[in-house]
Symmetry: C3
Subunit: 468 residues, 3 copies
């Protein structure tokens, strides 16, 4: 029996299921467009083998280790490296066995579906992972990782990825992107301009980061004009490495449109480390509007990922650092927060701003009404905890009636787990086809239009929204 | 092939679909009760022909032009008149063609279902609207609009409307309602008392409007007592034109129960234009409680439509004015906001307050618990962006378990698009029958009760809630 | 025809329904574990007959009388006792008839399903309740209540309750629990430590309650140290009556981790009745963290039930007192509010904190991400208005993908309506089996795992979460 059901995620009603399958069959051969994610560009530059099953599937994936931690497994036992000098498990087989013993925790989750998809379709496994099969799994995966066919570039080609965007700090030198380009390999791996470290006064090392930004660009980043000029220069450099977008991860969706004197004053306080919480938020908000203005000139698409309360647990942050599964969503008010930016540039032709959310209540109440009115706005796909069958269903059901399909931006896998990319795009395509089939069978969409839309949602809209 | 599926919106499971169809068949011949909407009373007074397809379907319908604007079509190209002296397209055929070229944007939206329903059932069209069929559509619709059978009164009768309420400003002279009544035509078109222009200190021209209110009534509307007396007089006049309800569109659901001295002080500041934002909100809130008290005497039903952030886009408001598709919902707190009104009149026999929302999170958390406790409260149907299959489903699924069906108020079409009225009531009846059939087939409702309820939801509850 | 459909709540698709039924059949014989509820412990101590049908089904059940009040039935006519000296109906047959005449109001609600379940399965009735059948119902139920088989202990055994927890005030002497234990009857009825009356400065009689707490324990409860010691002592006493948990009903989820001097200062103000609203909230929040710390020592599970705006209607509270159906939910912010407690004890092995909500928007945005990360957290089942088929469905659909099943805590019936206990557990088991069957049939769960999970959700998880 296969690990994954060939009809998974399709509606249970037989006739609706048949149509969903037909729609899915019509898009399954399309290449993958991955315009937003967190793969390591070094993989493609070096093309080294992935070290072992634990470092491929467990250690770097906060979806995975978070769940085990929530049931009492110490994070260090899962090999997550400590910042505070404490010991972490280093034996990959031990980590793998611990993971396998707790695999039942993932029942009913998208992680289980992504993992099983990789186990089956990539590594040819056909028994469920468990304490009993852990060794067999480890040996099989480890052996295959040693082969040329499982090197990053070979997998990239096998996954039929047409383009993959990484996300890199504004002060990254993009050396791995350069190396990949110079290597002669023709996989299209592009960067994305992510300036959080130099636009967020609360980011660790903000002032030093801004100094580095100055050094890299030859601009006086302690002045407002020089600081903006430095951003423009870095954006231009990122474009030489393929960037078509910038990306911004802020605690709120707040935007501002301050006069330059006031903005410069905030920059000064930010560099001096004397911003209040509110001033820091205002400065980030001002920078979103500045980035949108730069986009009017250089054409980069602006992505806003707001609403994560990062590093919620003080102890985990102290011991393990950022991005370790203790980022918790909070409420986001798009209507008031985006008004300054939208008043400034909301009706501009040629600008695209893609909005994401961790607050699903905003889909119907705020995001769809906004995207269904402002020409610059598009809705990004369900993000993070909502990148799943039910998450996609809720997204479509609460946005389509108000803003239609064409104000949405296709799928993002948003992952640092390379092997999950085909699985995630597959979930997205299946979920969308299930939704389309339901619309057709309930008289809300013509069948021919559903086939058009299946193609657009799987491929066309992402290419269009990101200018790819 | 018909434009609309005869089984549209029914559940896909065959047995459940059969029951939904049977329920729908039992109510499809019921007349339309339209207790809240925005049709122009002049139509019925003059009974002139509708000028052309563009002015019937595109120019006045913010659902329609908003979607095209969101994809970059300039609003002026759609014929929406400008306030700022700029030019707008005046050739209806050009506007129609532009609309037709973009008709794919409406795939999966309720607008497409309403429009297709009109195209098919009213104008006998059976090919989908597109760039190719735009001319054929225009000619057919334009020709039919020229016939007597497509005049407003003839359509009113053809739609089998038992009663239709318009919404008119408190300082409107209701001349078109008078003319209709004096014309001898016996269609029942009634008015609704909508005093936003004279109770909202932030409304354009508030002070002048309140002066006009004084002139119309002979009351000194600069005094609190005179101002209230003027409202009472106007409400009585509106009742002579059939009004059974008042209606209030406020940014929040805030209510107040201030003493008269404090209320009079706020009125003075409002007239002087010196209210703070909070004072303006308090004044509106006080007026909701005053209106509820007047309802205890004159029996008008109080409708509260809160939560729209009106005119969100500064540029569109400047160029095109109010109600042009850039009203965006926001959060609404009914529990704290309605407490003053409910403490004052919440247990009064004979009073009805109908609550609407643009914040669906309030359905289960606030509105159903409130309506399931306070005898004066009823829940209005899904409003605006949520007047749709999924919107109705969410409304029923999140309110019925807490407050049942009998604390809801039947359907409102709430439209200014006259031809969409039968389509909207049809969507409502189908969606409710789909929900009822699902309840029966999952053992949550007896079949006989479902037939009773189908009648109540389609007809009886609206008549009862609005005293029609 | 039976009053309740044997296949109620199962999916309508035939194959999915078959699987749901098979899952349900596999758990239907499991005993009931009821770790949280509001049954009166006196019932089991005295084992007296329930007085009559009205006092069994109408008078004490705020789900029931609230619905009738919402449609204009005076609360006093339903026999709800008045605090203000006014008269309430005392003839149980009149109350019953009034209830029966309005029984159609419950169509489509969980109350109707619970009541019909009791009527059919407990009292053998097979015609629907209505004005016509009211007398027949009354006579039948009243006659059966007179028999030994309908005494509380007999019903407890007939319901196959393995353990039932009541909720008792921290200053209750637990005399009924003692008496039950001393009676020789071996039904397992345990208490739960509910200290609201002595930790909430806004509770009626707070200062006197705290004095009583001091008298019961011999501690000086006017000092911070003595006050905490008194709680420790009471918790230990509650453990001798079987308690494995404490429970806390607060308006918000706020927690604090103040230093003892500041906490003591707040206690002083609370006892003096001079706390501001914010200080009262801070004090309650501090006590949650203190209770969690005590749990580290004594092992009681901490339950937090936040978000009810209690006694919303001033008139009803004045006339009838607490818990009379006018408690309305409000928004709750778990992410910010729980941070102090979680920073203090969130990673502690051996501690369990069970979170409940009346704000369903928190399921996906806050609660599942928190429970899917912090080892001390578990999610309680849908509470109060959401303890229903749709409520359970939304809970599973919005939490499972993020935190899985094993971070949830099984079912609570949370009822003071004794006869509804089997019905409520039955609804929960059916709803969960429906969800599991849907997961299997859409390829999201293996069938064998679904059978495991059906057992865990019906029985195992509740025992584990509450250490039963």
């Amino acid at each position: 029996m296969p690990l994954t059901d060939p009809d998974r995620l399709f509606p249970v009603d037989p006739a609706t299921r048949d149509l969903a399958r037909a729609l899915y069959d019509s898009v399954t051969a399309l290449p993958i467009v991955s315009p937003h994610g967190h793969c390591d560009p070094r993989w493609f530059a070096e093309n080294a083998r992935f070290p072992n099953p634990a470092e491929l599937f467990v250690v770097p994936d906060h979806y995975v280790f978070r769940m085990l931690v929530s049931q009492g497994v110490p994070m260090a036992d899962l090999g997550v490296p400590r910042l505070d000098g404490g010991a972490s498990e280093t034996d990959p087989r031990k980590i793998w066995n611990l993971f396998a013993r707790h695999y039942h925790l993932f029942r009913g989750t998208p992680s289980a579906m992504w993992l099983d998809h990789s186990f089956e379709h990539l590594f040819g496994l056909d028994v469920p992972l468990s304490a009993e099969t852990a060794g067999q799994y480890y040996d099989r995966i480890d052996e295959m990782l040693a082969s040329e066919a499982f090197r990053p570039r070979a997998l990239f080609e096998r996954f039929d990825i047409e383009v993959l965007a990484t996300t890199d700090s504004a002060i990254d030198d993009l050396r791995w992107h350069s190396a990949t380009r110079q290597s002669g390999w023709n996989g299209r791996v592009i960067t994305t301009y992510r300036p959080d470290a130099v636009v967020d006064p609360e980011f660790e090392g903000f002032a030093a980061n801004v100094r580095t930004l100055g050094e890299m660009t030859g601009e006086d980043t302690s002045s407002w004009a020089g600081y903006l000029a430095a951003h423009r220069q870095r954006r231009a450099f990122f474009k030489t490495m393929g960037a078509t977008a910038s990306d911004h991860g802020h605690p709120s969706a707040r935007t501002e449109d301050l006069d330059p004197a006031e903005a410069g004053r905030l920059l000064g306080k930010a560099l001096a480390g004397t911003c209040t919480t509110d001033e820091a938020d205002a400065f980030r908000g001002q920078m979103l509007t500045e980035m949108a203005r730069m986009s009017l000139d250089d054409g980069l698409v602006l992505q806003i990922h707001p609403g994560s309360r990062r590093n919620h647990n003080a102890q985990v942050f102290r011991q393990f650092g950022r991005d370790k599964g203790f980022d918790i969503p909070g409420r986001t008010d798009y209507v008031a927060d985006l008004k300054p930016l939208l008043d400034a540039v909301g009706m501009e032709p040629g600008l695209t701003v893609i909005l994401f959310t961790l607050d699903e209540t905003a889909y119907g109440r705020e995001l769809a009404p906004l995207a269904g009115a402002y020409p610059v706005l598009r809705l990004g796909p369900p993000w993070w905890f909502f990148d799943s069958f039910e998450g996609i269903r809720r997204f479509r059901e609460t946005t389509t009636e108000t803003c239609g399909f064409y104000n949405t931006a296709g799928f993002n896998d948003d992952t640092r787990a390379f092997c999950s990319i085909p699985a995630r795009h597959d979930v997205s395509r299946r979920s969308d086809c299930a939704y389309l089939a339901t619309l057709v069978r309930t008289g809300r969409l013509r069948e021919a239009d559903a086939f058009d839309l299946a193609h657009d949602l799987s491929y066309g809209l992402a290419k269009k929204a990101y200018n790819l």
